[in-house]
């Protein structure tokens, strides 16, 4: 019997042989060693039987029907699917960003992320259905930010993002019974909303993309605040929005 490790190497060659990965010279070498060693011959039979079993039972699983549309929407090849008819009434794009203050006590633990996300998307949808998606309409951050003072414990960070994403105004959403500030930005013909939820003790994180009911959502954490950008804009556009918001210095 061969030494264990050299047997191991010989066994690897048997796998490569069965997989058709060997050049002719090495393939002949493996055939010769299989002829001499019953253990290697057994290994070849095992590998061949196993490959047959995998072929029989494990085809690549077909993707769910909506995935292609979702992917195309996220790179801007098509508009996200429109479900309820009332959404036709809404502007063709609305991006909602929610900005929350540190004094509010809502802490979104990992297990609570889905719940918070659902609440924020719901708030975004409600705002599109109402006669106006904002409580304070102003493109001046020096108007929007003070409006939050006195309504919630701490006003959110409000920045101007230039002509690509003009500030439209702000509103207060209620997520999990906690009032949180939401800024609304525009993008082309569309609206954008951004919400901030306090997250004491959470480390900063880069934007992560998800999707619910046709809305793209970017979530990231910065300075112990969870930011949620919600929109039916393409993920690519929303990503640009998140990037400009994150990189804009506080006192531009």
């Amino acid at each position: 019997m061969m030494h264990a490790t050299s047997y191991e190497d010989a066994a690897l060659r048997v796998h490569a042989y069965v997989d058709g990965e060997l050049d002719p010279a090495n393939a002949l070498g493996v055939e010769a060693s299989i002829a001499m060693d019953p253990a290697l011959a057994a290994e070849r039979e095992r590998v061949e039987a196993f490959r047959g079993l995998m072929r029989e039972h494990l085809r690549p699983e077909a993707p769910p029907p909506g995935l292609r549309a979702r992917v195309e929407a996220s790179v801007g090849m098509r508009r996200p699917r429109m479900q309820p008819s009332w959404r036709a009434l809404a502007a063709s794009i609305a991006v909602t960003a929610v900005v929350a203050s540190g004094a509010t006590s809502m802490v979104v633990a990992p297990s609570g992320i889905s719940t918070a996300r659902d609440g924020i998307v719901d708030a975004h949808i409600r705002s599109l259905m109402s006669s106006q998606p904002i409580d304070v309409a102003s493109s001046d951050r020096h108007t929007v930010r003070p409006w939050f003072n006195g309504r919630i414990p701490q006003a959110p960070r409000v920045v101007n993002l230039g002509s690509d994403f003009p500030l439209v105004g702000g509103r207060i959403d209620v997520v999990g019974a906690v009032p949180v500030p939401t800024l609304v930005y525009g993008h082309g013909k569309h609206l954008i909303s951004l919400t901030a939820v306090p997250a004491a003790g959470r480390a900063n994180s880069a934007p992560a993309l998800s999707e619910r009911g046709g809305y793209n959502i970017f979530r990231w954490t910065e300075g112990e605040v969870n930011y949620w950008a919600v929109s039916d804009a393409s993920a690519l556009e929303l990503d640009k929005f998140a990037e400009s918001f994150r990189t804009m210095p506080p006192d531009q």
Binding site: H3, A4, T5, S6, Y7, E8, D9, A11, L12, R13, H15, A16, D19, E21, L22, D23, N26, P38, A39, A41, A42, E43, E45, R46, V47, E48, A49, F50, R51, G52, L53, M54, R55, H57, L58, R59, P60, E61, A62, P63, P64, L67, R68, R70, V71, E72, S74, V75, G76, M77, P110, S205, A208, L209, S210, E211, A235, L236, D239
Partner: protein, 213 residues
Amino acid sequence: MGIANLQDQNKLIRASDRSGGRVQIFPVRTAESDDRMAGGEDDHQRFARLVLPHLGDAYSLARWITANRADAEDVVQDASLRAFRAIGNVAEGNSRAWVLTIVRNTAYTWLRKNRPSVLAVVDDLEAVESAQVVTTELDRETPETALIAKTDAASLQAAIAELPPAYRETLILRDVHGLGYREISQVTDVPIGTVMSRLARGRARVIKTIGRK
């Protein structure tokens, strides 16, 4: 002899495929390749041609890595966005391996962020890889082909699900997606010798597990 020695296994592989343990199979876009696309193909058309055809493979791999359909969809969407951002810099060539590389890396990043407990086993991988699984876990001279052949799909899937992630992805890329060793080396970013040992050990473990049932 041992793992270090396996790094030399790529010497066994067909000479035409050989260019070192790690093989760069994604050609960089050149002026010449740009000329071939003089039709003025934009990024969306390029994405439709190079990425969309591989969505099925992308989803299947993401599903195996995340073990969850909804998570796999999120991963594929995220990976597609990454692929789209890079679409101007990748040339013709093996677009499937390129897409699967992005999906695989996105899936692990995604898991690390959202399902850290799933990945805890990865830390044990080195210990696992130094074990002589292939030779010690099987009765060498009894192939047990009849036992293997009568295994049902559910038992097979359960046995694969028990594998350490590095073994599982190698096995799936080879035996479900049909990638060659060289492509797997690229997608998983390890030398071909490591691909070979992971594949053989992954197969041996699954065979042993289904043999116990």
